[in-house]
């Protein structure tokens, strides 16, 4: 092997090309949309490109971690995340009315992001450990492992992250074979506890849910987001208004247009055709995730791969759902496209795990 071949091998050894290709394509779409959403602010676009690059490096590092190590890391990551969440509750920084950040001297961190990976890792690890004899008790323990951090995050309050973590944990339970009867029971008790959840929600969250049913009720307040994004998407038509030509976007009618509502910008400018192509790109990444999940060799890797893939899907569905007005506005970014470094890193960390599962020699059950 030449020197070049060797270093190329070193760089790409554990990288799944199919997955990487999909991710990069979506990122490119993201940068182009961001350029338009910020009225050609190159500063922002460069920042985002740097975010992406950093996240890709993290993905590469994670992909290089052998699976045995990953398993050993599950418990420590979960425990550290839990302790940090408790620290946030006790002495976190308040920003915008929510206590989500923890100041650790050098920088501020948001431990709930860590738990997006930490919770499914921990649950998958737990199920793997008790794989031979899964009983009801095991599902109960796993559910507790999920609900404790979810409760801590809900009271920060951060509804979006809570829902994402609960769904990632639920996917693990579901794939691990939680019986249908219990799920039905959960569904019913969930419906019963809805009023309780409602009373725990903050006023702004309640308003967001209410305006879902009738956005015009509060047209200049909480409903403004959805009304304007629906106008943007609808007026985009089949082929869209063209890149950088969205009037809703550029005349400043769209709020949060570079972060949570960036899909409206894309949709206004690229229309139904663009939307369908973007959905297809996302679908390809999800399909690859499913493929990796099916081929995974152990309980642990199967569960974690499945949960990561389905959570990725959940992000997409919840974000597009809220921008198109079929779900309430809960503050979930559009993966790989919304401006921001934190969610980019979380997302690619997950993909790193998928790659590690696919590319490392399979573990064989002994």
């Amino acid at each position: 092997m030449t020197k070049f071949e060797r270093s190329w091998h070193f760089l790409t050894r554990y990288i799944d090309n199919f997955l990487l290709g999909g991710i990069l394509l979506i990122m490119l779409v993201g940068l182009a949309t961001l350029y338009s959403a910020t009225d050609g602010n190159l500063n922002r676009v460069t920042n985002q490109a740097i975010n992406m690059f950093a996240a890709l490096i993290i993905m590469w590092l994670v992909a290089n971690i052998p699976l045995q190590h990953m398993m050993r890391l599950a418990l420590p990551i979960y425990l550290v995340g839990l302790i940090l969440l408790i620290c946030v509750a006790l002495f976190g920084d308040i920003q915008g009315g929510a206590r989500r950040w923890l100041n650790i001297g050098i920088t501020r961190i948001q431990p709930s992001e860590l738990m997006k990976i930490g919770v499914p890792l921990m649950m998958a690890w737990y199920f793997d450990k008790h794989a031979t004899t899964l009983r009801l008790r095991d599902y109960l323990v796993a559910t507790m492992l999920l609900l404790l951090p979810a409760w801590l995050i809900l009271r920060q309050p951060d509804l979006g992250t809570t829902l994402l973590i609960i769904s990632s944990g639920f996917y693990v339970l579901f794939l691990a074979g939680l019986s249908w009867r219990i799920m039905a029971g959960l569904l019913i008790s969930g419906a019963v506890s809805l009023p309780l959840l409602w009373s725990m929600m903050h006023e702004y969250q309640q308003r967001r849910v209410l305006t879902l049913f009738d956005p015009t009720q509060d047209a200049l307040g909480a409903g403004y987001h959805t009304i304007q994004s629906k106008i943007a998407i609808g007026s985009g038509g089949i082929i869209g208004k063209g890149w950088q030509n969205g009037t809703q976007t550029h005349l400043d009618f769209l709020p949060e247009k570079s972060t949570d509502f960036i899909f409206a910008v894309f949709s206004e400018e690229f229309g139904l055709v663009g939307n369908s192509l973007l959905l297809l790109l996302y679908l390809l990444v999800i399909a690859r995730g499913m493929f990796i999940t099916v081929n995974a060799s152990t309980q642990f890797t199967r569960l974690i791969a499945g949960s990561i893939t389905l959570t990725f899907f959940t992000y997409i569905f919840v974000n597009i759902g809220m921008v198109t007005g079929i779900l309430p506005v809960v503050g979930v970014p559009l993966p790989l496209i919304s401006y921001g470094g934190t969610s980019m890193v979380t997302m690619l960390l997950g993909f790193g795990i998928l790659m590690s599962i696919q590319m490392h020699p399979k573990l064989v059950k002994t």
Partner: protein, 636 residues
């Protein structure tokens, strides 16, 4: 047997898992289809509806920009104000051939070369959909002419805007600062501070000086108009209106007249002048020369003027009073003298015999006094009056750098004063630790010797020198220097007086302090280094001259002023306070490459104090204050 069961279990489990995964995949596909259906509904079936909403009548919320607060001097003289004027604005993105449309416009309204240059620079710096002024401050006649022709220029709009004006631009450029258009960096800062909503519609933001430091007070709160508009964005009617709240007015501690006199006294020399009221830390004057016309920045500065300011060898954009760092030279000596007395290394009677140089024990190197042959017998009083170097070489050596650093640090040298203008320099009071960190070298005894006369690694800002002088003037009390005295709420008319901020009180022996203060008084008397500047003053004032080297002299080399290039000449310094009992002003003067403190810097202080204490205006021809070359009584 057991193994088979486990294997069978394992296979069954795998099968279960695959079923579950298949269900999930179906779930994903179903929801994606749902999303697609939603797109289809919005973008195909309902497209017309939303298209109409987007293009036709709509309710838009349009910001109403608040008036920026005024900036006044302590006597109510206006230093920054607003006026409203018409501008012609273009959204560049709407025209394919911008040059042509501007040329066409020029046939109706005069558009100068400078307007085009400024417009070009604005375009490069702003967002694509932003409305930019091609002409500002239209006369009534021009407004009428454009209005009559406006049908020929769709997309060019006549707008009434508020402009910032600095009536005394050049004199106050470094205190008041200026505002300029909001750029990407400002925008990010505003977003990080979560105030970007309050800046909707605002085009300008404070960039330097008070305009920057008090941006929050000056800006005000944005108002909103709910408008019904047609497809071209034209206003049909106003549905509701929340009026803006104007920014707060600021009253400065600066005395505009004093500032003008001091500024003028510099003529065309470079330098800085800072005066502080020792009883409360009020900054009375804050001059950095040369200044620049702040008004140039308000409408966006053009390339030519920008290059002129930015590339000038005089560096007019540099705030010397706040950020300029210079060796304090002999103005350091009063603090050294206090250190010697307070730490019991010197008594009033202690006398040295000055041969004109100092030698470290065991070294052959001569540290020269500024006066060849020396000053003869010198005690501490005389050491200050004639500014004897040899006395302080010896004292510095005995004190050592640690004690110098600890004692003189108390006077604020080498530290930020915390004045309410952003961007202050800390300067440098050297220490053993600093040298190790910065130069990875240990401290040599020889380093201490030059520090003792304010040279060596010593660097101070003119503001710090005025601050330190204030502490001597009011017998040990340090107030934080401040430029804003009063903030007036524009909505309620309520005024908020900022109380003076007492930083600390130094515990100094009154006898020692009196000794130094007496010596400083005699500096301005016959025989002192500032005798000429002090001659004929109707009040008594204390001062200390200083001269700081710009280029290092080799040992034994004689300083010959005429042969040294102007830019390599020494800086002239002077610190002073007056009246000597119960002072009402403490100040520092720095004249870059001015030569001697006594002849170049002290006369500026005298003119300023004459006005401040007696109300005496300087003679009309103060443009050039002659630099007298009298080595005997004006050196150092």
């Amino acid at each position: 047997m057991n193994r088979t069961v486990e294997l069978r279990n394992h296979l069954r489990e795998l099968h279960h898992f695959q079923v579950r995964l298949a269900i999930s995949t179906g779930f994903v596909l179903f929801l994606f289809l749902l999303l697609f259906a939603r797109f289809f509904y919005l973008q195909v079936l309902e497209r017309e509806h939303y298209h109409t909403l987007a293009e036709d009548n709509r309710i838009s919320i349009s910001p109403v920009v608040p008036n920026r607060g005024l900036i006044l001097d302590r006597n109510g003289e206006v230093l920054a104000e607003n006026y409203s004027a018409y501008t012609l604005e273009i959204v560049p993105n709407k025209f394919s051939d911008l040059e042509a449309i501007i040329n066409k416009l020029a046939t109706v309204i005069p558009i100068e070369e400078i307007d085009r240059r400024r417009f070009k620079k604005l375009r490069e710096e702003s967002k694509r959909f932003e409305s930019l002024p091609i002409r500002t401050r239209l006369s009534d006649e021009e407004v009428a002419r454009f209005a009559a022709n406006s049908y020929r220029f769709p997309g060019i709009k006549l707008k009434a805007r508020l402009f910032r004006k600095y009536p005394k631009g050049k004199t106050f450029s470094h205190v008041v600062g200026y505002i300029n258009r909001i750029n990407d960096k400002d925008l990010e800062q505003l977003e990080a501070d979560k105030v970007s909503a309050n800046y909707r519609g605002t085009s300008h933001i404070g960039k330097t000086g008070i305009e920057q430091s008090y941006e929050k007070e000056l800006h005000g709160t944005v108002g909103f108009e709910e408008l019904e508009t047609d497809s071209a964005g034209r206003k049909i009617r106003v549905l509701s209106r929340t009026p803006p709240i104007s920014g707060n007015d600021l009253t400065l501690t600066i005395d505009a007249k004093l500032q003008q006199i001091a500024e003028k006294a510099f003529g065309d020399r470079r330098g800085a002048f800072v005066a502080i009221d020792p009883s409360n830390g009020d900054v009375l004057a804050f001059v950095s020369k040369p200044g620049f016309d702040s008004n140039l920045f308000v409408n966006g500065i053009d390339y030519k003027n920008w290059d002129l300011l930015n590339n000038s060898i005089d560096r007019p954009l540099n705030n010397r009073a706040l950020r300029g760092i210079y060796p304090p030279g002999s103005t350091f000596k009063p603090f050294m003298a206090l250190a010697g007395l307070e730490l019991n290394l010197r008594t009033p009677q202690y006398t040295i015999s000055d041969p004109g140089y100092f030698q470290l024990p065991g070294s052959s190197r001569h540290y020269r006094d500024w006066k060849a042959g020396g000053h003869g017998k010198v005690n501490i009083h005389k050491s200050l009056v004639v500014s004897c170097d040899t006395y302080y070489y010896g004292l510095a050596n005995e004190l050592g750098i640690d004690r110098i650093f600890n004692f003189i640090g108390k006077f604020g040298l080498g530290k930020k004063t915390g004045i309410d203008i952003k961007g202050e320099s800390a300067g440098l009071l050297p220490s053993r630790e600093w040298k190790m960190k910065r130069h990875k070298q240990k401290w040599w005894p020889g380093d201490t010797i030059s520090v003792g006369i304010g040279q060596g690694y010593n660097l101070t800002t003119p503001l710090q020198l005025a601050f330190a002088t204030m502490i001597i003037a009011n017998k040990g009390t340090a107030f934080r220097p401040r430029v804003v005295k009063r903030i007036q709420n524009s909505k309620t008319g309520e005024t908020y007086e900022r109380a003076p901020e007492l930083l600390y009180k130094l515990n100094l022996n009154p006898d020692n302090l009196e000794l130094v203060r007496n010596a400083l008084k005699d500096v301005t008397q016959p025989g002192g280094t500032a005798a000429r500047a002090g001659a004929g003053a109707a009040y008594s004032f204390a001062g200390k001259t200083g001269t700081s080297q710009v280029i290092a002299m080799k040992q034994g080399e004689k300083y010959d002023e005429s042969s040294v290039k102007e830019r390599h000449r020494d800086h002239a310094l002077f610190i002073a306070y007056a009246p000597t009992e119960n002072p009402s002003i403490a100040l520092s003067v720095l004249v870059e490459n001015g030569g001697h403190g006594g002849s170049a810097a002290a006369p500026i202080a005298r003119l300023a104090m004459d006005y401040f204490l007696l109300g005496k205006l300087p003679p009309v021809n103060t443009e050039k204050i002659s630099v007298v070359e009298d080595l005997e009584d004006s050196h150092d």
